[in-house]
Symmetry: C2
Subunit: 416 residues, 2 copies
């Protein structure tokens, strides 16, 4: 079989599995999730042996150490996967929820119900733990998962999926609810992106390059996730102590995540007071400041270019500029933001109101660190990613965002 035929056959099996999965009760899905968690822990050595082979190959190929680290599993990471599956079992089942409903004037009873998408394709990079996370979230939301990890994690992912499928089948659910997408190199992913009608939604999880290529090439509807050039704007009316704490937290709490701050904007009325303090604190925290002319008047600041304002650094770097007013901050954000998360620090109610109304991002925060844009922090329990598009889901995507709806309309011989 060609890769195209193989991938399409895999997707057909997923579609078939999705028909029965859509009808499975919450209790049966939760039992399967617990069984999946138990199986991962019970067969940990098998998973770790498979992972060791991937790690060895990656090291021999001279793969950078940070990528090898993301690839590597250990006892704690396997335990983390199992814990994640059990947590998903504890979350409410979105399927069947009545989103709206009522009786129309003619007596027709209308209900809009949450239903699974059907078949969800997930294309992701090195971390093998995403395999278990994504499988769990798809299963709980009643979706069959087609998982396409990166080539260097193939042995790990194959072992994890084998363990999960056996656990699912033992619970009487269709094993094809969780499958790896076959195919060498990028070919498998490419077929997936063309499988309109077989795959309902594609979710890319990973770096900007991966996401862009899926968004541009896919004929299947895509939910764009994750690229975050997040801004913190320190307003004229900011409490500068709160501002300093928020800037430091947003930038340095964890640098490799999409909700880390990448740009700092400061109102010019507080620049003389705030700049020396924030520059000193960021410098002490090991952050390189790429600043505009005002910032560059101080030590420890390198000159920023447009490229810096556009960048998602994911490192101890921050772009910084002084703006003439709140409107200037809004304009800067409109020009450079990726629409993920922006924060204002201000004690002025009217400024907060204007900023949250004018800034068009998935999350707009007042007096809080950008790091709070997160499914766990928002109380969704788990997330499949953070959507930066406006269609379907925007911001952290939990189980509810993994569903579609359908209308069920009941009459008694009604005609028009």
């Amino acid at each position: 079989m060609s890769t195209e035929q193989e991938v399409r056959a895999t997707a057909e099996r997923a579609r078939e599995a999705s028909f029965s999965l859509a009808l499975v009760s919450r209790a049966a899905k939760d039992a399967a999730l617990h069984a999946m968690a138990d199986a991962l822990e019970g067969r940990r050595d098998e998973v770790l042996a498979a992972n060791a082979a991937d790690v060895r190959r990656a090291e021999q190929a001279g793969t950078p150490a940070n990528i090898v680290d993301r690839l590597r599993l250990d006892e704690e990471r396997v335990a983390g996967m199992a814990r994640g599956l059990r947590e998903v079992a504890g979350l409410a089942d979105p399927v069947g929820e009545v989103v709206r409903g009522g009786t129309l004037a003619n007596g027709l009873e209308l209900r809009q119900l949450r239903v699974p998408f059907g078949v969800v394709g997930i294309i992701y990079e090195a971390r093998p733990n995403v395999t278990a996370d994504a499988a769990g979230l798809c299963l709980k939301s009643g979706n069959a998962a087609l998982l396409r990890g990166s080539g260097n994690a193939l042995t790990s992912n194959t072992a994890i999926v084998t363990v999960l499928r056996e656990a699912i089948a033992e619970q009487g659910l269709p094993a094809d609810a969780v499958q790896l997408v076959p195919g060498e190199g990028h070919e498998g992913a490419k077929v997936l992106m063309r499988a309109r009608g077989l795959v309902d939604v594609l979710i890319p999880r990973g770096g900007a390059g991966l996401i862009r290529s899926v968004v541009e090439e896919s004929m299947v509807p895509v939910i764009e996730t994750g690229v975050g050039n997040c801004h913190v704007y320190v307003d004229r009316a900011a409490d500068l102590d709160k501002a300093l704490a928020i800037v430091l937290n947003a930038k340095t709490h964890r640098t490799s995540v999409c909700n880390a701050a990448e740009s700092l904007l400061v109102h010019e009325d507080v620049a003389d007071e705030f700049l020396p303090v924030v520059i000193e604190a960021l410098h002490e925290a090991g952050v390189t400041i790429h600043g505009d002319e005002r910032f560059a008047e101080y030590d420890h600041v390198v000159a920023a270019s447009d490229e810096d304002y556009a960048k998602e650094y994911l490192s101890l770097d921050i772009a910084a500029a002084v703006v003439p007013d709140l409107e200037g901050a809004v304009r800067h954000i409109r020009t450079w933001s990726t629409g993920h998360t922006e924060a204002i620090v201000t004690e002025d109610q009217s400024a907060a109101r204007r900023f949250t109304a004018r800034v068009d991002s998935a999350a707009v925060l007042v007096n809080a660190s950008t790091r709070f844009t997160d499914g766990g922090e928002f109380g969704f329990g788990a997330e499949i990613g953070i959507s930066t598009q406006k269609l379907h889901a925007r911001g952290p995507m939990g189980l509810v965002e993994m569903t579609s709806t359908k209308y069920v309309v009941t009459g008694d011989g009604h005609i028009r």
Copy 2:
């Protein structure tokens, strides 16, 4: 300027207009909608003269009469456009609605608010009244509209948009909230489909060919609308009088619409009783029946091929087959349906339950005509189209479906 530059400049103006439109109060939007309606009526002769020029050109080019008819405006159709705009003014404004909200354990206040998409592109075919309908729905939902009608309605659409823009500007709103997309032939639409980042959503309205080409070519997120191969399944436990009335209504009430029935499935236990009756009644109503072997035992039935089961006829034709049981009906629908609307006729509660759970279409109806899948009938007041995709909106799309959401999170110096 090249077409590409012209279209992108138009989209930039739309984006700029969308920033202020997002902040406009309901009262101001409703006043603009009334002014748009008044202007269309007040300048009716101008619009009709422009339309007469389009009609003349189409007739001279030998355009089929049914297309010329869809192109033609008259006093009643202009009044209909004005009435449509006033009705939209009467509908609730979705913008600002709190979709979910609460206070998190750490004291952060979380609200998910409805916001406009921003810039909505609508690509549609001959009917010039869609120009006013789409402009009204976009404006009320706070979206800037980029309208791309068909070439043969260009003079009419230009006149309508000129009138609407002047009315909008007189009310103090940005005229660029409503614009036609420039460019000859398909070039303008093609640029629109590539304008990712400038256009937030594309909605094609028209025939299957138009919709397919937009879905396949667009890099901007698309909401797929309208192709309906709708089924009526007459169950073993059907009340056959209700079944006959529903089949006739679904097929013949209006044939050119996407919620008309195109396929009839009958449980074999009632075939001997129902087939002669339904065939006779459909034949008398002028319907050509394309039936399977069981149907073909009767007069007035021509043999059906797979092509018939796949077809959206939009005419006085219906495909028909006898199925062994409810599961057979579900399988037939899974194979051939476009996911728009399917109906079951049954008095059996368990059969209704199984059918509505297993059939994965935007609307699943019990004992009611497929013709009810409609924004007006569902009580949404107006619709921009009927989505047959699972992402974002499914089924009739009213004003609520023309919005995205954003999270606004308020703290008091919160850090992680």
